[in-house]
């Protein structure tokens, strides 16, 4: 498979220069490298500019509801273990509306790869602050500045039980593709939070903002959860790369042995009925 094979021919509707283009390219590259055939891939999307990804990657697609990607993806994974499940959503979608599902999915260590297009705003609804926006920054819904503390998705993920936790940047699509590939090859829940500049509504969070601050993670033991947590809380710089990777945890499907037997057919319930006589 080549990256180009994953094109659908649909014209992207993202603004020119949007960080989503880089994510798109990295996804295609990673899929090609991992050799995932399109009919073996289930792409799940939320609602938002990020969710539009569903139209641009050749695969079985499920374009769900705002904030509800995680349960849909989990259902797919549990019902059809032959499929690779790749999820795309925004930070509003996943860390706002869907934060409960996000946390519980990581607790479950469901085997899927979750890419969050973290632009710190709501893009599609034209620029309200998202839960990752910093205190003080103005937006359409917070004209006098955000007052709520931002949440830290990396720290939450490490704590909640995700077994692959990474952060990429749209300005470095090479590294991003590698991180996604790592997620696809990982057996368990993989989070890839991506700094994705929204060039239209992103306010100060543009390419330059990130370029000045991002640093590649180096000399870090990815199996050390405490170190990863500490790293995720770095204040002055913004580390990108793999924070945490835990091997050897049973993935969700392994904990549901009934999946093997789950087949749609008429069942004989005589024994169940007899219990009630």
């Amino acid at each position: 498979m080549k990256a180009l094979d994953y094109n659908t021919g649909q014209k992207p509707v993202w603004c020119p220069g949007c960080g989503n283009f880089a994510i798109w390219n990295s996804i295609k590259k990673a899929l090609a490298e991992a050799g995932v055939e399109p009919h073996r891939l289930a792409l799940v999307s939320g609602i938002g500019c990020s969710g539009k990804m569903i139209n641009h990657v050749r695969a079985y697609g499920f374009h769900g509801l705002h904030g509800r990607t995680m349960p849909v993806a989990t259902g797919i994974r549990l019902a059809n273990p032959d499929m690779k499940v790749l999820v795309n959503g925004g930070d509003g979608d996943g860390y706002g509306m869907g934060v409960g599902h996000f946390v519980h999915s990581m607790r479950r260590n469901v085997d899927l790869t979750y890419i969050v297009h973290n632009n710190k705003v709501y893009g599609l609804t034209t620029g309200q602050a998202s839960p990752t926006n910093d205190v003080g920054s103005p937006s359409k819904s917070t004209p006098f500045g955000v007052v709520d503390e931002p949440l830290n998705p990396i720290a939450i993920a490490i704590d909640a039980g995700a077994t692959y936790v990474a952060r990429g940047f749209s300005g470095d699509s090479e590294q991003l593709a590698e991180l996604i590939l790592g997620g696809l090859n990982h057996n368990g829940f993989a989070l890839i939070d991506v700094f994705q500049p929204c060039v239209t509504f992103g306010g100060k969070y543009q390419y330059e903002y990130y370029q000045e601050r991002v640093v590649k993670i180096e000399n870090h033991d990815v199996t050390d959860a405490d170190a990863a947590l500490k790293l995720s809380k770095t204040k002055d710089k913004l580390p990108i790369g793999l924070f945490y990777k835990a091997e050897g945890h049973p993935s969700y499907n392994e904990m549901h042995p009934e999946i093997e037997k789950a087949q749609v057919r008429k069942r004989d319930v005589t024994a169940l009925l007899e219990e009630l006589v």
């Binding site: 799940v44 349960p71 499929m83 087949q263 069942r267």
Partner: protein, 562 residues
């Protein structure tokens, strides 16, 4: 004995009433009686007042009564809650019951606590002593009680409970005579089953492979029942973080090829609202078992109502078709759940099985479950090896508005299930012609779907002076009342939408109609009026959280027919 005898046990929650009651019902059933069990309990784990009523007789019994013929009082609270007639037998440990002083009933004094202490058993063993006493008074064979106690408890505990029951049995036998001789025609060994059990088993029979939800009374026991079936029957059951996740997970699973269902009460369904619309526009088959309780919000968690009918029918924004079964018996719970799974797969729509607390948690006898057809998954694309990368026109009409389903993993079947309006391949589109043709196609399913739904049915004598009109579990209550008066017949709606309303109209015309519903606003009446133009003036409504008791129906019918 009178035609129906009513036995009841009551005491604080935590006293084991809800295991003791059904167990004793099985003893009565084994003795040859027809039985019906009705539980009442508050939303408390300890304290409060729990009771379980068993109405039994020589012929089929299907609903609760107000009268009580024999009562087992396990605490003082019972005397504040229950009305006893002079003829009622009350079994109790009267030395330890302070409030019982002035009751009119005949007291059957059994030293429950003394016996338990003597045997060095736990307090809760009182129940078994009391059951022994009741069995003696009812002239039942002790061996049958012993057998059911052995089955209800783990071996070691079972033995000591049998001994305790024996002591209660002997104690009564020595001092009182039998008050109600069982002389029933032996009824066939039948099931003793709740609506939720029947619904769950119907789902297992129908090949369900995925069930996900969050617990909420009175639907929780569907979750519990199915969860027990997972290993043996190859069924994935997930208790999710909330109902939103419950329905979305089921939709994801169904998209991926599972036969999926979720189940909840009205409050949980409120959260499932958006997921319902998602299933509708993505045309992912899904079955929802919704058991009603009084609302809004948390309402009365453990009581019954039929207040969610209009909500179920209208829930979610936009226009789309759905099917709503409203089973009136355990047999229908079983059959319709089986059928609902097929219907969802056949038309790619959400299908409801609408229950209520009365039907979900009461016990009914059933000779056997009805015959079902085969599992039918509808049109499924088999794949195209030649063009594995090709997109598939999932949303193009094959027949009757229905497209061809693809199970992900199939070569050449790529498509997108989208919550947005979409093209035939599922790509987002808001073009006017695309929208129009998709809406029209989806609605073309309505006609054949209507033909597949069960039609309302008339029960009782054709020419009765009064005709009740009802849906769901009220059927059971009316069947019972029919044994006591010939002043009415009734039309039961086993499904509410979609229906052939011309046929319904013909059926209703020319009758003295009265809607009978467990709600305040007569919701079925509204739906009938909307679809047939017939406005049913007379109403018989109940909305205090209780089902209609037999005596209430009989006196209403006799009065209305005057």
């Amino acid at each position: 004995m009178s035609s129906v005898y009513v036995w009841k046990i009551g005491g604080p929650a935590g006293f084991g009433i809800m295991t003791t009651g059904p167990m004793f019902a099985k003893v009565l059933k084994a003795s040859g009686y027809h039985v019906h069990g009705y539980p009442e309990y508050p939303s408390l784990i300890r304290g409060g007042y729990n009771c379980y009523q068993i109405a039994f007789g020589d012929t089929e019994v299907t609903a609760p009564y107000k009268k009580i013929d024999m009562y087992v009082a396990l605490s003082d609270e019972c005397f504040n809650r229950e009305m006893f007639e002079e003829g009622t037998y009350v079994i109790g440990d009267f030395a330890n019951l302070k409030n019982a002083g002035d009751i009119k009933a005949k007291k059957i004094d059994v030293p429950l606590m003394d016996i338990v202490k003597e045997m060095d058993g736990p307090d809760i063993m009182r129940n078994s002593v009391a059951l022994g006493a009741a069995a003696a008074l009812l002239g039942l064979d002790f061996a049958l009680l012993e057998k059911n106690l052995m089955a209800a408890y783990k071996e070691k505990v079972a033995k000591i409970n049998v001994d305790a029951a024996k002591k209660g049995y002997e104690s009564v036998k020595e001092r009182y005579s039998v008050v109600c001789k069982p002389s029933p025609d032996k009824c066939a060994p039948a099931l003793y089953v709740t609506g939720n059990e029947a619904t769950s088993i119907g789902a297992v029979a129908g090949g369900l492979t995925f069930f996900s939800t969050y617990p909420m009374t009175p639907a929780s026991s569907i979750l519990h029942y199915l969860a027990k079936c997972t290993r043996e029957h190859g069924l994935v059951v997930k208790h999710t973080e909330d109902e939103i996740s419950g329905i979305n997970m089921a939709v994801g699973a169904s998209f991926a090829g599972a036969r999926a269902m979720t189940g909840t009460a009205g409050g949980g369904f409120s959260l499932m609202n958006e997921g319902l619309g998602l299933a509708a526009i993505t045309e992912v088959p899904i079955v929802l078992a919704v058991s009603q309780r009084p609302g809004p919000a948390t309402g009365m968690a453990t009581w019954t109502e039929q207040g969610d009918l209009k909500y179920i029918i209208n829930a979610s924004q936009g226009e789309f078709i759905r099917a709503v079964y409203s089973p009136g018996s355990v047999e229908e719970c079983y059959k319709f759940t089986f059928d609902a799974l097929n219907l969802a797969d056949k038309y790619h729509i959400p299908v409801f099985v609408l229950l209520d607390k009365f039907l979900s948690e009461s016990h009914f006898m059933a000779e056997k479950m009805p015959e079902t057809g085969e599992v039918n998954r509808g049109y499924i694309f088999e794949g195209n090896e030649e063009e594995p990368m090709a997109y598939f026109n999932r949303f193009t009409e094959k027949k009757d508005g229905v497209g061809v389903r693809v199970i992900p993993g199939t070569k050449g079947g790529l498509y997108i299930a989208s919550s947005n309006e979409h093209t035939d391949e599922g790509f987002v589109s808001d073009k006017a012609d695309v929208r129009k043709s998709q809406v029209e196609r989806r609605f073309r399913k309505l006609k054949p779907l209507t033909d597949d739904m069960p039609h309302p049915e008339l029960f009782g004598k054709k020419d009765a002076p009064l005709t009740f009109v009802c849906f769901g579990s009220v059927k059971m209550m009316l069947l019972e009342a029919m044994k006591h008066t010939d002043k009415f017949n009734f039309i039961h709606f086993p499904a509410v939408i979609p229906l052939n309303w011309d046929k319904v109209k013909k059926m209703l015309e020319g009758r003295n109609l009265c809607v009978m519903e467990n709600n305040y606003t007569a919701q079925l009446r509204g739906i009938i009026a909307e679809n047939t133009g017939i406005i049913i003036e007379k109403t018989f409504l109940k909305y205090d959280g209780r089902p209609f008791f037999n005596e209430e129906i009989v006196s209403f019918a006799e009065e209305a027919a005057k």
